[in-house]
């Protein structure tokens, strides 16, 4: 009998919680929340975004929170459903997010992002050497991309591969195609020989090399791609309405005004510069040609 | 004469295409105490079921198996006899926190079958005979004028069985009970109905019958007994 009563109480309390839960979770002064695509080692992400949060809070006068996500689409989802107002996107995820949220804008990119590059890296056992031309010898080997929605780890390398092998998909070109999830993991997989060749973000390669995580005897860069636009800060169009007129401009100025090397270094960037949505138009075309965008 | 309490005209029943009862005509008037007798499988339980189906809202039932909810207390099992006459909210409340008035009423009914002290026991913990008496108490508590009972004292000895049948007759106007004990039937019923092979083979006042006259309907079972 008592058990039945308890069950009844349990169920009714639960319904109450489900109904009132989300509403109760809203804080009175709405914090400004941002995220970033998890493109490399999480410890580095926590370091860089933690610093950005502290910096922005000082400049913007509202509480600023960083929310970590586990994969690229989760970052885009958090942006489209309004959980975050600002995100550090890759070129392609930025395009996806801005198409899904009308009115949102790219406001700043790293100085390096206007002309970003992909490195093709290969395990030493393949015997592949660095070349200026596209290394067609990678055909028939195993190949790993980064995340499915990565610009430098998927979209652009796939585009270059399709260019080099007209009429063929990567699955047809290579013996096996994998998606490592992030660039640091791509480097590990190629270094260990799990995959013969991989496509990696050049800035993560540089950061990981500097951090001593890359064994030059096992893995090396065999090709540098032509340049393309990549990472950027994208903000939702409704922030001015929420945080006051001119908030977008204030945010943009704050990002561009970052000079502290302690913040910039974990990004692998020298500074942030203003940018507009138009700068990423080329990626829309690439997305369409590879079938990743409608 | 008053309106009959039960009226079955040319009633029949079948299980899976096999006729169990056929062409049954039975009229029972208020105040009559009818014992339905016959071999097992003759259709006694089916006849009780037919009557119940005809006047469900006037019937208090003592089923063949005690049919108690074993995980509930004796009190709750008896209380169930009046479930239809209380509001849902009261019933649900009683499940958790019974009212004193209900407890007293049920205790009084249990006293009539000698179980007043088992009010709070779990029904499943009682012996077979005790469970049967709880089942009777449930029908007594129900209090509807027509009491239908299917072997209500089969698990009791003859003395105890007699006491229980007397209690049943005391508060219910009309009784129809399937019985197999000839002497109990003769001493507690005013009328004997014998069912044989799906038909009524005998329907007579008990006053004019004796055990020997009835016994011929149970020859096979005597062999077992």
């Amino acid at each position: 009998m008592r058990a039945w009563l308890l069950r009844l109480a349990t169920v009714s309390v639960l319904w109450g919680a489900a109904v009132s839960g989300p509403a109760a979770a809203q804080a009175p002064s709405k914090p400004f929340v941002f995220t970033g695509i998890p493109d490399q080692d999480e410890s580095r992400l926590v370091e860089r975004f933690g610093k950005v949060a502290t910096y922005l809070e000082g400049k913007l006068g509202v509480p600023v929170r960083y929310i970590p996500v586990k994969n690229y689409p989760a970052a885009v989802t958090a942006f489209t459903n309004g959980q975050v107002q600002l995100a550090w996107f890759g070129g392609f995820t930025g395009v996806q997010a801005r198409r899904a949220v009308p009115g949102s804008q790219a406001i700043a990119q790293g100085a390096e992002d206007a002309a970003f590059k992909t490195y093709f890296i290969a395990n030493a056992a393949t015997g592949l050497q660095k070349s200026a031309d596209f290394p067609k010898a990678i055909a028939g080997k195993t190949f790993t991309f980064g995340s499915r929605a990565s610009t430098s780890g998927r979209l652009m390398p796939e585009f270059f591969i399709r260019q080099a092998f007209p009429g063929q998909t990567p699955e047809q070109v290579f013996e096996r195609v994998g998606f490592s999830g992030d660039h640091s993991r791509t480097i590990q997989l190629v270094q260990s020989g799990a995959f013969a060749v991989g496509a990696v973000d050049y800035s993560v390669w540089d950061l990981d090399s500097k951090a001593g995580k890359v064994d030059g005897k096992s893995v090396s860069v065999i090709w540098e791609s032509p340049t393309f636009p990549d990472y950027q800060w994208t903000v939702r169009g409704d922030v001015d309405a929420t945080y006051g007129a001119g908030f977008t401009e204030k945010l943009k100025a704050a990002l561009i005004g970052i000079t502290d090397p302690a913040i910039l270094e974990p990004f692998g960037r020298t500074k942030f510069t203003p940018v507009t949505n138009a700068a990423y138009e080329p990626l829309v075309e690439v997305g369409r040609s590879t079938g990743l965008l409608d | 004469m008053a309106e009959p309490a039960i009226r079955l005209a040319n009633a029949s029943a079948a299980y899976g295409g096999r006729a169990v009862l056929d062409g049954i005509d039975l009229v029972v008037h208020p105040g009559e105490r009818v014992a339905v007798m016959g071999r097992s499988g003759a259709g006694k339980s089916t006849l009780i079921g037919l009557i119940q189906a005809q006047i469900p809202e006037r019937v208090a039932l003592v089923p063949q198996a005690a049919a108690l909810v074993r995980t509930l207390s004796v009190f709750h099992n008896v209380y169930m006899g009046r479930l239809d006459r209380n509001r849902t909210s009261h019933n649900l409340r009683t499940l958790v926190w019974p009212a004193r008035a209900d407890l007293d009423a049920v205790r009084a009914v249990l006293a009539r079958v000698g179980l007043a002290d088992r009010l709070r026991d779990r029904a499943g913990a009682l012996s077979g005979g005790q469970q049967q008496r709880v089942s009777v108490a449930r029908a007594l508590y129900n209090g509807r004028p027509v009491l239908l009972a299917d072997e209500p004292v089969s698990a009791l000895d003859r003395v105890q069985g007699g006491l229980v049948l007397t209690e049943l007759a005391r508060t219910h106007e009309t009784l129809v009970m399937a019985l197999h004990d000839v002497s109990l039937a003769l001493s507690h019923a005013s009328r004997i109905v014998v069912v044989e092979a799906g038909r009524i083979a005998l329907d007579a006042p008990s006053a004019g019958l004796d055990a020997a006259a009835l016994r011929r309907y149970f020859v096979d079972e005597e062999a077992f007994a």
Partner: protein, 527 residues
């Protein structure tokens, strides 16, 4: 004793239908064929050294690195998710037997894996407690409704028939039905809470702040000491479940869980997100702007819809389904072999007094480890192919079935002159338990299939692989169609399993795990 003593290996001649041997043979043949079709490539070069480091983490756990809040959130999500699911399941169980629509809705709810639910819910509720709780509650409502309905159906109804005519249905249910079934329902619900904690852990792998969140990070970055500590904490949670999940602790657990829920970082506009999600995102692209009310454009719309659907069908659903079935088939046969090999470890007559506790701990441990996590670890070690997925599924499920079989084996009584050792195993134990063994195996078939589909998210080319791709491309309409297809495949396998169990006359043998969980009873188990 409800264990039916059935002739095992040889089909009984009076049964015209396929016997145990024929069914076993067909499953084994299909499993072999699937094995030939499966991709078993090992891409990693140093799986053993990685495994060594992983086990090293378990031996030298770094408890200081464990994020305490994640343990709290894991329990809180599980308690509230299972509570809500069980509550809804209970309400659905009442009309379950009578209304086909309810049964279909429940079949669908449970056919969609909690990870898929979470991916969909995240679109609307973001990374929040609501997403975590609902992702558990929705499929669990479907499962609980079915099982509760079965329990209610099996209950003794005699008291219900005796109720005075005119009793209202609510009172009738509360008095004559509920008390009969409460104990079984309670045992099952508490067992589900354990499953709920496994599910919650797995939700961490896609971003909810449970133990899984930190486990994923730790695995990914090779912090095996932290990973080991997290796993040990999780095993401790599961292992002590009986101590802290009891009738009287429930209100405290629920209250505590509500208070312990993580505050949401930021907030989503649920109304707008839901409208966009239902009204736009999951609507097939060709229908989004089509006017469905104008009959003259119907033909065009249908053509466009077919043109949209065809490549999904041929390029994703069909190959994905094939791979899912292949993986599930191999895993099922591997599970069967594993369970037959493992169960003597926990059975009195085979394992000695030293080996038996050890065997039990081993099987309970692999059973407590979510198969998704096993697969994740195996994939890190071996690279993305079917091999790690097969290993994960068969280890977890062989652990479960082996443990249960061991307990059934202990319930058997042997004649005094019964043989010993391998002869006892082959001539007495296995033949007598074979029907029960098949019942468990066929019951797990659907569960294995659901997991096979979900492993696609980890990189095996099953249906989940294409769902993951569709979500990465922000094509939620495609993702929704693929999830629907996955659900249909799961429902079909469930139906096939039930038909087979019926035709083998093993449909009434216990398959639920709940009532077998009591360590006190060593008697054979009835559900």
């Amino acid at each position: 004793m409800r264990l039916h003593v059935l002739p095992g290996i040889l089909p009984a001649p009076r049964w015209p239908r396929p016997g145990y041997a024929a069914v076993s043979r067909w499953f084994a043949i299909l499993g072999l064929a699937a094995l030939l079709a499966a991709d078993l490539h090992v891409t990693s070069l140093h799986p053993w050294s990685d495994l060594e480091r992983l086990l090293g983490g378990l031996v030298r756990p770094d408890f200081l690195a464990v994020e305490g809040a994640s343990i709290l959130y894991t329990v809180a999500f599980a308690v509230l998710g299972v509570g809500l699911g069980a509550g809804a399941g209970f309400l659905l169980a009442i009309p379950y037997a009578r209304f086909r629509a309810v049964r279909i809705a429940c079949a669908f709810l449970r056919a969609v894996h909690e990870l898929f639910w979470a991916l969909l819910l995240m679109q609307v509720f973001g990374l929040s407690a609501t997403t975590g709780i609902l992702a558990i509650a929705l499929p669990y409502a479907g499962i609980c409704a079915k099982v509760y309905a079965e329990i209610i159906e099996e209950a003794d109804l005699s008291a219900l028939r005796v109720l005075p005519a005119g009793s209202d249905p609510v009172s009738a249910f509360a008095y004559a039905r509920l008390p009969e079934v409460l104990a079984s329902i309670r045992a099952y619900t508490f067992y589900r809470l354990e499953c709920g904690m496994r599910s919650t852990l797995v939700l961490g792998f896609i971003g909810l702040p449970t133990i899984g969140f930190y486990l994923e990070s730790a695995f990914r970055q090779g912090r095996y000491g932290e990973a080991g500590a997290l796993m040990l904490v999780f095993y401790a949670l599961i292992g002590t479940r009986r101590l802290w999940v009891r009738g009287w602790t429930l209100p405290l657990l629920v209250l505590g869980a509500i208070l312990a829920l993580p505050p949401m970082v930021g907030s989503t506009d649920v109304g707008a997100s839901l409208a966009r999600f239902l009204g736009h995102d999951i609507v097939p692209a060709p229908l989004r702007h089509a006017s469905l009310l104008a009959p003259d454009t119907w033909l065009e719309t249908w053509a466009a819809l077919w043109a949209w659907f065809r490549p999904i069908l041929t390029g994703q659903i069909l190959p994905g389904t094939l791979q899912t079935l292949v993986l599930a088939q191999v895993a099922l046969v591997a599970t069967a072999i594993g369970a037959l090999v493992l169960f003597p470890l926990t059975a009195r007559h085979f394992a000695g007094p030293v080996a038996r506790p050890f065997g039990r701990v081993l099987l309970v441990t692999v059973r407590s480890t979510p198969e998704y996590m096993l697969a994740y670890v195996a994939l890190q070690l071996l690279g993305p192919s079917m091999l790690p997925a097969i290993l994960a599924l068969s280890i977890h499920n062989a652990g479960i079935i082996g443990y249960l079989m061991g307990r059934h084996a202990d319930g058997l009584t042997y004649r005094p002159d019964a043989p010993r050792g391998l002869n006892l195993y082959a001539y007495e134990t296995v033949p007598r338990l074979y029907g029960q063994f098949l019942a468990y195996l066929l019951y797990r078939w659907e569960i294995i299939l659901r997991e096979s589909a979900i492993f696609g998210i980890l990189g095996v080319a099953t249906l989940g692989f294409y769902v993951d791709a569709a979500i990465a491309e922000l094509r939620l309409d495609v993702a929704a169609v693929l999830i629907l297809a996955t659900a249909l495949v799961a429902i079909a396998v469930d139906a096939a399993s039930r038909a087979l169990r019926r035709s083998l006359r093993i449909a009434d043998l216990p398959v639920r795990l709940a009532s077998t969980d009591t360590p006190r009873s060593s008697a054979p188990v009835t559900a």
